[in-house]
Amino acid sequence: MDRSLTAVQLKGITKRFPGLVANDSINFELKKGEIHALLGENGAGKSTLMNILFGLYQPDEGEIWINGKQTVIEGASRAIELGIGMVHQHFKLVQPFTVAENIVLGNEPVKGLKIDYKLANEKVRTISERYGLKVDPQARIKDITVGMQQRVEILKTLYRGAEIVIFDEPTAVLTVQEIEELIEIIRNLAAEGKSIIIITHKLKEVMALADSVTVIRRGKVIKTVTTDETNEQQLAELMVGRDVSFEVKKTKREPGEVILAVDNLKMKGEQGKNALNGVSLDIRAGEILGIAGVDGNGQSELIYAITGMRKVEGGAVKLNGRDMTNHSPRDVSVAGVGHIPEDRHKHGLVLDFSVSENMILNTYFEPEFGKTMFIDYKAMDTLSDKLVKEFDVRSSGIHTHARALSGGNQQKAIIARELHKDPDLLIAVQPTRGLDIGAIEYVHKRLVQARNEGKAILLVSFELDELYALSDRIAVMYEGRLMGEVDAEKRDDQQLGLMMAGNKATADGRG
Amino acid sequence: GAKNNNEGGTNGGANEGTNEGTKVESDGSGKDFKIGMVTDVGGVHDKSFNQSAWEALETVTAETGAVTKFLESKGEADMEPNLNSFVKEGYNLTWGIGFLFNDALSKVAKENPDAKLAVIDSVIEAPNVASITFAEHEGSFLVGVVAGLMTKTNKIGFVGGMEIPVIKKFEAGFKAGVAAVKPDAKVEVDYTGDFGKPDLGKLAAATMYDGGVDIIFHAAGGTGNGVFNEAKARKDNGDAVWVIGVDKDQSLEFGDEITLTSMMKGVEAAVHKVSKDLIAGNFAGGTTQELGLKDDAVGLPDTSSKNVPADVLEKVAEYKAKIVSGEIKVPTE
């Protein structure tokens, strides 16, 4: 592979949005066959730059050169023609369609007037075998795992003959195994001669995968380096502009009373299958119980069951010794449970409410916010001002809509709200998903602080690093059951991986 | 009188038309007179009594030079302001056409004792209102006689608009007429619930014709158009079916291949007479006239002879005489 040829060259790209410059004269070069990582904090302008390259946005200034020729990319179809493919941060898949339909969409093989489904399936199978991306062409997107969906996204680009593939935060939603597979896939693609751009917040992945790295901060390129000549610590500093600590300082602590006791919970899932098959667990004051497991093994249902958002068919939930089984979410919340939900847009916030209104989402009925039927907006704003300051939620003011906050700041707002309730039990589901390292550092600090204040914390995460860093104990969930626990002190990825794949705990687990 | 209700949806709004009285050989006696007319929601071109009334006023203009003008009501709420538009402009006479005007017109009459008003199909007891109603049951009896004598299948249909007292009068008279000449004939009744839905009229007619009915009398306003449409389609297919029209001579509109006869209501004559009386200086304020067979205000049009055999028409004449003389009392419900 002749790496001296450039696949993409961006010269002085500038993109302005009302009130801010998302990309500020960015110069960027991608060599043929190279894997090039793009790093930066939330809102640094990475996605914007890639959307420009893929023709979704038009730059205000600057030039795009593809394979040595200057081009204007006025739309996605032009980008596809140029051999550019993009795997988006939020998947662009049509849920009710099959895998094959999603892949061939817009470029369907036909027989007469009809789509030739046989040929379509065959074509999908061929490329999926060639690149080692196993999928079932006839499965529906809504029925397959996130990892599988991502393969479909990659296949979509390959089907269109992409030579330059952009990945926008591809690992944010994947499990450990899936990430490993993806890294393998990307390496294969590069070996085939494809040029790759990958955006990620995970420095370890960058170091493992990329040939070179470009760091962007506030729309400007800070530096481009090769991975040979840098390390994680340096990259982090380049990104954030200050020293970042990856260590979570956590002192050993004796857990107290049992706060949450879950006994033999059973619940039906959406498709009629059992989502929970008898889950039992205890959490004590001052400890963090981590739940590991591949997405879709009942973690969400467990949380719904504990918080009362869905009814269980059997078993019991006790909080501080009080039976809370099948109580309403309101009762559970009042009884002392805080909940940082998995999907901040779906559950965590009313995006069209102001930041301030969101701060009282589950306490508005308390006398604190008006003793009559009327809401005391002054009390609400006072509280919001305080929380926004304390938790450093950045926005143009407490009256701006939650929608206009970046993901990290949205998450901070939720954490502020839930911690302010001073709950006995805090449930945190994927609390750092999609956040940059600065934000992650902050969230981790707050969670450990809460633990140290004696709160019981239930943490669900797909990131082993996070689980190890925060948890006192780690339980593994598989097909609606807990497979056992491992000690967070002793890191054993092998063991954990096996349990996540459905093997019972061995002697050193407690299962 | 089969079109009377408030349909469609707006408040406010009216349509207008004016006859300025300088045309043709008018005698000019009415030059200083202004006569207004407010329609119900059917509008002035309803091919029914609103239209008849307006035609009468057009004739008045032609004959006397009086200025006549109409306003259409889009809903019940418009009727009162529309009447007031004329009254407050100083019109010499204001007509309300249709019995929905009952409330609005009596209120306006009470509030404006100096104004003169007249109403069709309703009785309003006020010194400044002339009320005109019709004995629809009497005329319906006569078309019932025709139907009874001419049915081949012994099945006759009646399609009504809404099931309300006025229409019940048509039904009762019609049934009595049929029973008088053909006691064993069956009269099927279908109220469509609407005066403005030809599709329902068409369905009702289709159902009846399919069931062996060969003559249908409709008192359903615009819904009745559907009855004619269905009959026309069947006639084109060679079936021997008939429709009896209502209010006006409907053979003029729908043709005499399907229109057996019609139950005419003399709205035009009545409006013409009352308006001319006004110009002549003897307005019939405070009176109620129920116009029936004796006044020739209801009954069959002359064109009936085209489809109705002479012997049947003779029978009709006989019954008419008996009703006028009081020998037969036609039921109203």
């Binding site: 918080t307 958002m309 309403s328 979410p329 309101r330 009762d331 559970v332 919340s333 009042v334 909940h339 939900p341 779906k346 559950h347 965590g348 916030l349 009313v350 995006l351 069209d352 409410f353 209104e357 989402l361 589950n362 508005y364 916010f369 008006g370 039927m373 009327f374 809401i375 | 209700n5 408030n6 349909e7 469609g8 949806g9 707006t10 408040n11 406010g12 709004g13 009216a14 349509n15 207008e16 004016t18 809903g75 019940e76 709420a77 418009d78 009162e80 302001p81 007031n84 538009s85 407050k88 929905l100 409330d103 209120k107 509030e111 809404m162 309300i164 007292p165 619930g193 609407d194 403005g196």
Partner: protein, 360 residues
């Protein structure tokens, strides 16, 4: 006062104004094409509206039900529901008021309030059915309320014809004077226009709408459910009950509209061939008013005023009154397509901007 700020913020006042002007221009073009004189027509319209106290009073009478139905549609919209069934709820409100007004004979201070409340509750419950079906059975409220509109019409007709009918008529007996809510001195003042307390209550409802939605905890819940039912569930709100409540309140507004048509205007209820149409016009009013209470009030004034004035247009200029529907449709169209309006305004705004630059 976020609301007030919104109302007076530049583009939200500018766009409706421009939209109204563009709508009137569209109407004028239609009239020119039809061979009518638009200037004469519009001046006759204004003349009709403002010439006499009577017409002004009657215009207010015509505007009043639109305020209620506009509020009803907006309220549901605000909570994420499309209440296309305001029409039926309006009719049920009429019926409730008529039943009490006709069948009972009570002192006025009990009779009128009871009739009003009954009608309002009828409307509320009728809407509640759609809310319940949506919450419990997942039935799309748009379809169920379309069905309920028809059912309301026929049910009311049945009730009137069977239990309340005045002999020999196709309408109910007259409501007892003790239940009527006319304002006699205003009626005298306006030369017998049908003025009634419903107008005052409509304005009170505008304020109530604002207070309920933006000042109470209940309103906070309603809005949360409207924007994001999942988050509302998470926050411990009872989403289903809130949905039914929202429909109920919306139906109460609609029902009140119907109530005052009976108790304020007609004094009896006729057997109707079709429902009066205020509910559908309410959708237009709500949209015109951007689903804010003040907006609805102004929208109703515009819509009702134009509609009432259209009689003058035909009286004075011989223009078919339907042209007013074209104007109203066009106004809402331009309000909705503000992109289009801005596009129209662009040259003008640019000029202003460049002037400012020159000045600087």
């Amino acid at each position: 006062m976020e609301m007030l700020r919104k109302i007076f913020s530049k583009s939200s006042i500018l766009i409706p104004l421009v939209a109204i002007i563009l709508g009137l221009i569209v109407g004028a073009i239609a009239m020119l094409a039809g061979g009518y004189n638009p200037i004469l027509a519009y001046s006759s319209l204004l003349d009709k509206l403002f010439s006499t106290p009577y017409n002004l009073g009657e215009a207010i009478r015509a505007i009043t039900p639109l305020i209620f139905t506009g509020l009803a549609v907006s309220f549901a919209f605000r909570t994420g529901l499309f209440n296309i069934g305001v029409e039926g709820q309006f009719v049920m409100g009429m019926t409730g008021a008529t039943i009490i007004g006709v069948l009972l004979d009570l002192p006025w201070y009990i009779h009128a309030p009871l009739a009003i409340i009954t009608g309002a509750v009828f409307g509320g419950l009728w809407a509640g059915i759609a809310g319940y079906l949506k919450a419990k059975r997942g039935v799309n409220e748009v379809i169920s309320s379309i069905m309920l509109n028809w059912i309301a019409l026929f049910l009311s007709n049945f009730i009137v014809a069977k239990f309340l009918v005045e002999k020999g008529q196709q309408k109910s007996m007259t409501v007892h004077e003790s239940a009527m809510v006319k304002i006699d001195w205003l009626i005298k003042l306006t030369d017998n226009a049908r003025m009634h307390w419903g107008t005052i209550i409509a304005i009170v409802c505008v304020i109530v709408f604002y207070i309920v939605l933006w000042r109470t905890k209940q309103g906070y819940e309603l809005r949360a459910v409207g924007h994001n039912p999942d988050a509302a569930l998470y926050a411990g709100m009872n989403v289903n009950v809130t949905m039914v409540k929202s429909m109920f309140i919306s139906g109460v507004f609609a029902g009140l509209g119907g109530v005052f048509e009976i108790l304020g205007v007609f004094g009896n209820q006729t057997v109707m061939a079709a429902s009066p149409g205020y509910g559908f016009d309410g959708i237009a009013v709500a949209l015109l008013g951007g689903n804010t209470p003040i907006g609805v009030l102004l929208g109703a004034v515009l819509f009702g005023g134009l509609s009432y004035g259209s009689a003058g247009m035909s009286f004075g200029a011989g223009v078919p009154p339907e042209v007013v529907r074209i104007v109203i449709g066009a106004v809402i169209f331009f309000v909705a397509s503000h992109g289009l309006v801005k596009w129209f305004l662009k040259p003008f705004l640019n000029k202003r901007a460049s002037k400012r630059k020159e000045a600087a």
